[in-house]
């Protein structure tokens, strides 16, 4: 199955090399959500995430001849996405000041939260988690998002970020440590909310 996916991607990349916009469109439809969600989770800004998505696929079009068609395209896309996010975060410290809650409120469908009490609990929990994530630096944040959101292994993240696996392990370890320290304090205060997720 994975081999078929790779072959299919390879064929599409080959067509993109010849300037085939339909092939790029097929790859865009296939991977846009993954790229966009990772970018949004890291940058916390919808417009920036859309700009990054655009930039990733423009790079795919412009540098398609440098992409190995025999391997999966996903790691290459994650690598470019992570690099663009890192550049954005490094240049714009705005992310430290941006209210994540605004972004989250705008992207989470209100229909999924029916009961007012549950809605209040979730909002409170979301606020606690977002405060914890706010503290992470760009490197830790990117690793945390790739690990928890994209469900990638340490080895895959190391390949994507072009750093040793030990570096990823270290960033994940310290990122989790910060998250735990921040969250455990609050979870004791919110037992009924915490138990819902255990």
């Amino acid at each position: 199955m994975a081999h078929n996916q790779t072959t299919q991607d390879g064929q599409l990349i080959g067509r993109v090399c010849w300037g085939d916009l339909d092939a790029l469109g097929e790859l865009y439809d296939k991977y846009r959500m993954q790229v966009f969600r990772v970018a949004l989770s890291i940058t916390r800004d919808r417009e920036v995430a859309e700009d990054i998505l655009q930039e990733v696929f423009l790079k795919l079009y412009n540098f398609s001849d440098r992409i190995d068609p025999s391997v999966s395209l996903a790691p290459w896309l994650y690598r470019v996405t992570a690099n663009l996010c890192y550049t954005h975060i490094s240049r714009h410290r705005r992310w430290l000041l941006t209210a994540l809650e605004d972004v989250i409120e705008s992207v989470v469908a209100p229909s999924s939260l029916t009961c007012p009490e549950r809605q209040a609990e979730r909002s409170e929990l979301r606020a606690i988690v977002q405060q914890a994530i706010n503290v992470l630096g760009p490197s830790q944040r990117i690793v945390i998002v790739l690990y928890y959101l994209a469900d990638l292994s340490l080895k895959e993240i190391a390949f994507i970020l072009e750093v040793p696996e030990g570096t990823v392990k270290s960033r994940l370890h310290y990122g989790r440590k910060i998250l735990r320290r921040r969250l455990e304090k609050h979870l004791k205060l919110l037992p009924e909310v915490a138990y819902e997720f255990t």
């Binding site: 800004d45 928890y148 255990t198």
Partner: protein, 105 residues
């Protein structure tokens, strides 16, 4: 790992892991990029595919006329290329103007 065999510390770690994963996935579960992104990609590719126009006097003149109508902030080029999302619309204005000019010439 089986929840029943965890000590308190492991249980708390597991709980926090679960929470972060749940939160991150939930926060983007119902969000999609706007259709305009793909349109912009196509536009940019189409724009790049056009060869730049030779610097003839008429081209210079037309360019100057166009540029003088642009907002002053557009001329702060270093800001444009720092990727500040607040200034990206200006970059797009410049890009659109140049593309229109290219078509016109």
């Amino acid at each position: 790992m089986n929840l029943h065999k965890m000590n308190k510390n492991q249980f708390n770690e597991h709980r926090v892991d679960y929470l972060v994963r749940y939160y991150l996935q939930e926060s983007v579960a119902n969000v999609e990029p706007s259709p305009q992104v793909w349109e912009r990609i196509q536009l940019q590719i189409a724009g790049d595919a056009r060869a730049p126009v030779a610097s003839e006097p008429v081209w210079h003149q037309a360019l100057w006329q166009r540029l003088t109508k642009l907002p002053l902030a557009v001329f702060r080029l270093p800001d444009l290329f720092e990727g500040d999302p607040q200034k990206m619309p200006l970059a797009r204005v410049l890009f659109t103007e140049l593309r229109l000019l290219n078509d016109w010439v």
